[in-house]
Symmetry: C2
Subunit: 420 residues, 2 copies
């Protein structure tokens, strides 16, 4: 980690720069795959399963009993942990469900909204070394609460923890398909994989590129994605071992992960860097973490006000506040995906089980995007109902405005009613 001492405001952008994403090249590889799945469906899925994942597969659909009975294959401890995480995540997302009341904006003019679950949604869970069952919970639970009628899950992994998490969320349409071809299958539909309207979930650069491409074809996606990142704000009294463990838990994600430490005390930075080296040695993924740390930065600032400025400019996916009064700082943070307050709130708690969602905006997108929540799985339809009395109150206003915008048919739709 490089240390930057008291950078000036015009240096922020440079210091906080994310690794550049070279999507064009990947897109050129992904586009033909997408189009082949669009045109040839299951046949293309079979071809790519063999080519990329080395699986000869005839039936992509995972049998329901395999999903329903997956819990039996899990260690009791893990099963209980998933159950408790489910509870917490369910509780937090269920509270996001609100009923809005009908408003009478003028006498006889009633307006309201209703939330409707997106009918068909898709969840992608990558394979690779680790079975990301936690992401199944993070996406499956709000989909369930939203009342999405069909939830399609694609994953190259057949780990029972993934199936158990899916089962807990009431997901029955599970397919063993991976990579960009899985995204295309859900976007366009094949004989086996149902077409969905919105696709969620993480993945490598190919999956991310595929999501961007199908988005251009008309399928909604959860959000644009970049490498995961954390920023930690620390003061003199923070615990270097805690800070180091948080930095490392981000760094182990991948060599392109970003880790930022901001502090108003040089001693804490230095002792944290020593701790990082110490803890690093014991990590199975230390080679990955080392690479990530090479691009990472420690920034020494004059005071907390400047720290807040820098953190709002960075707009971290995860922001951990290991400072004396974390509530005061959190109050001033306007750009972040999720904020972790205090010394005993590591990011990994939010990643798994505190209750908040771990699908969060990276790459500075926290300036404009929220993380995944119940809102991501519903549409809010507006409704209005105007009575005969109401049109008398509202109609003349609409007539005047429509005429001023030179839309006379718009005006006439009111006039014919007023004259009736």
């Amino acid at each position: 980690m490089n240390i930057f001492e008291f950078p000036s405001k015009d240096q922020y952008a440079d210091i906080l720069k994310r690794p550049t994403l070279a999507f064009d090249e990947i897109e050129q590889k992904v586009r033909p795959i997408i189009l082949e799945v669009k045109n040839k469906g299951d046949e293309a899925l079979r071809k790519y399963a063999l080519e990329f994942d080395n699986i000869l597969i005839d039936n992509f659909r995972v049998d329901l009993p395999e999903i329903q009975n997956a819990g039996e294959l899990l260690d009791a401890e893990l099963k209980n942990a998933i159950d408790q995480a489910f509870e917490n995540i369910y509780t937090f997302h269920k509270a996001q469900q609100i009923t809005e009341s009908v408003l009478e904006t003028m006498p006889g003019v009633k307006c309201w909204r209703k939330s409707v679950g997106i009918e068909k949604v898709g969840i992608y869970i990558p394979g690779g070394s680790a079975p990301l069952f936690s992401t199944v919970l993070m996406l499956g639970i709000p989909a369930f609460i939203a009342g999405c009628k069909q939830v399609v899950l694609c994953s190259p992994s057949n780990h029972p923890a993934i199936y158990y998490a899916a089962h807990k969320c009431g997901i029955i349409d599970v397919f063993r398909v991976g990579g960009s071809q899985a995204i295309a299958a859900m976007a366009f539909g094949t004989d086996t994989v149902p077409k969905v309207y919105k696709i969620f979930g993480p993945g490598n650069q190919y999956v991310t590129s595929a999501k961007q491409l199908v988005n251009q074809f008309g399928t909604a996606i959860d959000m644009p994605a970049g490498p995961s990142e954390v920023a930690v704000l620390a003061d003199y009294r923070a615990n270097p071992a805690f800070i180091a463990s948080d930095l490392l838990s981000q760094a182990e994600h991948g060599p392109d992960s970003q880790v930022i430490l901001v502090a108003d005390d040089l001693a804490i930075i230095k002792s944290t860097l020593i701790e990082v080296k110490k803890q690093l040695e014991n990590l199975p993924r230390k080679e990955i973490a080392k690479l990530a740390l090479e691009n990472s930065k420690a920034i020494l600032v004059e005071n907390m006000e400047i720290a807040v400025d820098i953190l709002n400019e960075y707009a971290a996916e995860h922001l951990i506040l290991q400072v004396e009064n974390p509530e005061d700082i959190a109050e001033k943070i306007i750009n972040a995906g999720s904020i972790f307050l205090g010394d005993y709130t590591p990011e990994s708690c939010g990643d798994y089980a505190s209750g908040t969602n771990h699908t969060l905006p990276t790459n500075g997108y926290a300036k404009a995007y929220s993380g995944v929540s119940l809102d991501s799985f519903v549409k809010k339809i507006t409704l209005q109902q105007i009575s005969k009395e109401g049109i008398k109150n509202l109609g003349p206003i609409v007539e005047i405005m429509a005429e001023a915008e030179q839309l006379f048919a718009h005006k006439n739709a009111v006039t014919v009613r007023l004259e009736s």
Copy 2:
């Protein structure tokens, strides 16, 4: 309008097909403009203002007094109408502001969300024949309520109604820039036009294409856009003059506007088509409306259940229910941008002043997207705070899950805290 009688389910997709959008060709024209604005800033804006809008312009920023005093140039009737529309739209959007409470998902584990207005947003208002001041209200009011710190408005039009609406919404950063170059200016920033994080607003195909392009560069946009559309559901007792006026108020938007009439009664369809012809004759924009009607469809169905199926498949931007029990039908609609219930609720009331937002998902996007609301202008940041007691309750669960996902640094971030 073509009449389709009792189509079978496998015919729906074909009948409900939208006009194809040929974006590739337009994108090729727009991309170099975007890049030139990105690289040359104001110089490029000046060049294109001259080339496309035939305006020789030195200073794009509209002087504050011109915005503040615009109301004086308006007809009192129009000014009052805008004031009343402001009230209604404000009331409806203000009610969308909610404070969520802090949840304790486990003892010592507190989770909550806070809504923060997106710091910098951009609003584009097209020029052309009509000054779309109503759209200024529809975007400016929620931006104001959300507490967006900087609201940038670009429009090639200098109509006082636009400036008055902007003034009502507290907008002071107004620039006389139009077209795809305005979108680029707001996405990348120039010496004059501030960079924003999210861009809202309608426009022609060039503007739409520019929004899609800057979205790929990282600027958020309100939603993907297609031509405007309405579907009307009518029964035997509906008023043909009302239905015709609603169909025409959509058809006058543009030759690519879509108009769909669904009814369970052939007589009402026939008398509506007669009414359409009659009303069409008196419209200034009748040539445009005629073209739109050529692609439009009237669908006769056996019963209301089938009608609901068709309407959910179509996912109309605007859906008007001129039926006996509109509430019952509205209950069953799961895909629509905005629903207008009953005979006295024309779409034009929602377009201008009922209170609901008129920026709505077109082109079938209502299956996955909501219209613009207060939500579009805020990000919801999640927060969590875990006490020393809380980490004892939650920590072991996280340790087990992290280990199962083979993320040992994630696990360690809990372990160091539990051991401290």
